[in-house]
Amino acid sequence: MQIFLDRLSSGLTAGSIYVLIALALVVVFRCSGTINFAQGEFALFTCFVAWWLSTKGWPLALALIASMAVGFVMGMVAERALIRPVRRRSEVATLIVGLGLFTGLNGADGWIWGPADKTFPELLPHSPNDYISIAGSRLHYDSIGIFVGMLLVVLLLTLLFNRTPFGLQMRAVATNAESAALSGVKVGRVLSVSWGISAAIGSFAGVLLVPVLPPNQLDLSSFFSILIFASAAALFGGLDSVKGAVVGGLGLGVVESMLNGYGTFLGGSLQLTLALFIIVVVLVFKPTGVFGARRIERV
């Protein structure tokens, strides 16, 4: 029972991380109908910003806010300057611009801060004694912190989507951009701000998760695999659904943790392959995911 609870909590922690990045993907997809491949690299860049500020003596909480602001601006600028001009031309062009951002940002991180791994300061209490005990299993404060952070983001996003005028505009743009524009919604501004929000969520997630993930260091390929897990989670839940991202992310985290614990056939090392398998199966059998809205394309 104790081992089970341990695995459950580690699965929920990993799952919360996937949920956060998946939410960033969902916010972009809902509005602009595209996937931001550079999502992970936005987060990585802002993590480097936070790390750099913390080495300058900034308290980490302040560095987190600053990096979220940087992320917000990056997201907005990227959407306005790079994505919007090519979005109408073709999907392929959008994808390629996204990949250009991906590799460009990754290289820029290494260029500015050097390719060596960085030890990242921890925002949350993390010493081995910082835990509460439930039925003999240890629940560490940093795991709880990430879980609570995830719930907070979900709550804020739900409020934003459902309770604010801007959220209404976002939903209008997602449903039908042309009608929204005709009703006076500034579609361009909505898109830019959504990208900004999404990048800010990414940087929030990044700063929380880098100290917790296995290497516990900031390295240039930190976000490759997280992006894959998050995409698998978002696809499973349905790319346009907040609820789906939460269920998909937590589910993936727990399943992965349980499989590693109980099923030895994966050898504890084929998590990405599991994610790939989930992606292919979901795409082949239920492309809209579990909670996704069915999209009808006009011929």
């Binding site: 595209t34 996937i35 491949f37 790079l82 001009p85 090519v86 031309r89 073709s90 999907e91 392929v92 062009a93 994808l95 390629i96 611009v97 990949l99 250009g100 951002l101 991906f102 590799t103 460009g104 940002l105 990754n106 290289g107 820029a108 991180d109 290494g110 260029w111 050097g114 390719p115 390929s221 490759f224 695999s225 992006l227 894959i228 995409s231 698998a232 696809l235 050898g267 090392s269 084929l270 998590q271 990405l272 392959t273 994610a275 790939l276 992606i279 292919v280 795409l283 082949v284 492309p287 011929v299």
Partner: protein, 392 residues
């Protein structure tokens, strides 16, 4: 005939965005029919198969042969670089089938490259095969895996397939690490030099391994380009381009989208896998975390975009870019500047020259020289492809 082309011409002047669009689509092997330009001088129009056309082809052939011979006489290092260019050109030619001609962006072709390389490596090291004999096996393996990874293309659009390929690219090093007994895992797989001895009939000694590999790569590149050329001009190639340009129109004209796309992905993976085999022979040691990561996949894609998507010679130029940009920029920016240059190049090219370098050159040549089909025939690939490309 002139309705669409005149239209295209007026776009050239008035609306730059649409001109890019038109140029991008036309660069994909569907040359516009000859028509008088409005800028005074007419282009020189020649018929396919006529004496001037054949002599131009002959000149091109002689020039290529000269370049190949020049390469064979280079020193060891330069020849090695050139061999790498050719290997990457083969890999990018494979990617071109999926991304350039069919419009399925693949972010995971490094995995096919690696799959080919490891097929060669494992068969040579574990089963003591001759290295060049492993190529057909790699083709089959990569084709089958390509079909599986391309499965999502059965139901949905390119965006989603891109996610699947991305995951494939990221997961590949992990799979290699998992089967460490076969692949050497994280420490890598080393093919001993003597195992890559050139075959006796070539007359090359072990010391001339570099030259043997150069000639082998040249031969395979020529073969691959020939295959791609014929494939693209075939009925199947038309179906590829039709499904890229307008899925609905293609489907309503009887193209079986699911089959066409999935098979395109398989063929694409198989060709890239061949590049991987040669890469294994060239390098002699395989480390998945170095040579077959996501960034390598993006490098392949960058090469294709720089060279020109959906062009015959784009992959060659792409190979040059992929090898020489990192080589010349290795002193700048802590060794990370190549990634920045690749990223910037991707974005700049999408904005300014979507047809890539090869496409831009072909367009410029089109101002002075046009090749038209010899006689009007009831079935003409060039003309039947053009209108579907122009439809909105």
């Amino acid at each position: 005939m002139t309705a669409t082309s005149v239209n295209g011409e007026s776009f050239d002047r008035g609306r730059p965005d649409d001109a890019e669009l038109v140029a991008a689509r036309e660069s994909a092997g569907a040359p516009r029919p000859a028509h008088p330009t409005h800028r005074g001088r007419r282009p020189w129009v020649i018929e396919r198969g006529s004496v001037p056309h054949l002599s131009l082809l002959l000149i091109g052939l002689v020039l290529s042969a000269a370049v190949i011979l020049w390469g064979s006489g280079l020193g060891r290092f330069d020849q090695g670089q050139l061999t790498r260019v050719i290997i990457y050109a083969i890999a990018i030619a494979g990617l071109n089938i999926a991304t350039g001609y069919t419009g399925l962006v693949s972010v995971g072709h490094s995995a096919f490259f690696g799959l080919g390389a490891y097929t060669t490596g494992i068969l040579v090291v574990q089963a003591h095969w001759r290295a060049e004999a492993t190529i057909p096996v790699a083709v089959v393996v990569c084709f089958v895996v390509g079909l599986i990874v391309g499965l999502p293309a059965l139901r949905i659009r390119g965006l989603y397939l891109a996610i699947a390929t991305l995951a494939f690219g990221v997961a590949f090093p992990e799979v290699v690490a998992r089967f460490a007994s076969l692949t050497g895992g994280a420490s890598g797989l080393t093919i001993r030099r003597t195992m890559l001895r050139p075959p006796n009939w070539t007359g090359f000694t072990l010391g001339q391994k570099g030259e043997w590999l150069y000639w082998l790569s040249v031969a395979i590149l020529v073969l691959v380009m020939f295959v791609v050329h014929n494939l693209v001009r075939s009925r199947y190639g038309l179906a590829l381009m039709a499904s890229r340009d307008n899925e609905i129109a293609a489907a309503s004209s009887g193209v079986n989208l699911a089959v066409v796309k999935t098979v395109a992905f398989g063929v694409s993976g198989a060709l890239t896998g061949v590049g991987g085999c040669l890469f294994a022979m060239y390098l002699g040691s395989l480390v998945a975390n170095d040579s077959f990561t996501l960034l390598n996949a993006i490098a392949l894609l960058t090469g294709l975009v720089i060279g020109g998507e959906g062009t015959r010679f784009g992959p060659l130029l792409g190979g040059l870019a992929v090898v020489y940009i990192p080589y010349y920029s290795s002193n700048i920016g802590q060794g990370e500047s190549a990634a920045v240059i690749f990223g910037a190049a991707l974005i700049v090219i999408v904005f300014l020259a979507p047809e890539g370098v090869a496409g831009a050159v072909m367009r410029l040549i089109g101002h002075v020289l046009r090749v038209i089909p010899r006689t009007p025939k009831p079935y003409q690939p060039e003309r039947s492809a053009a209108p579907s490309a122009e439809l909105p």
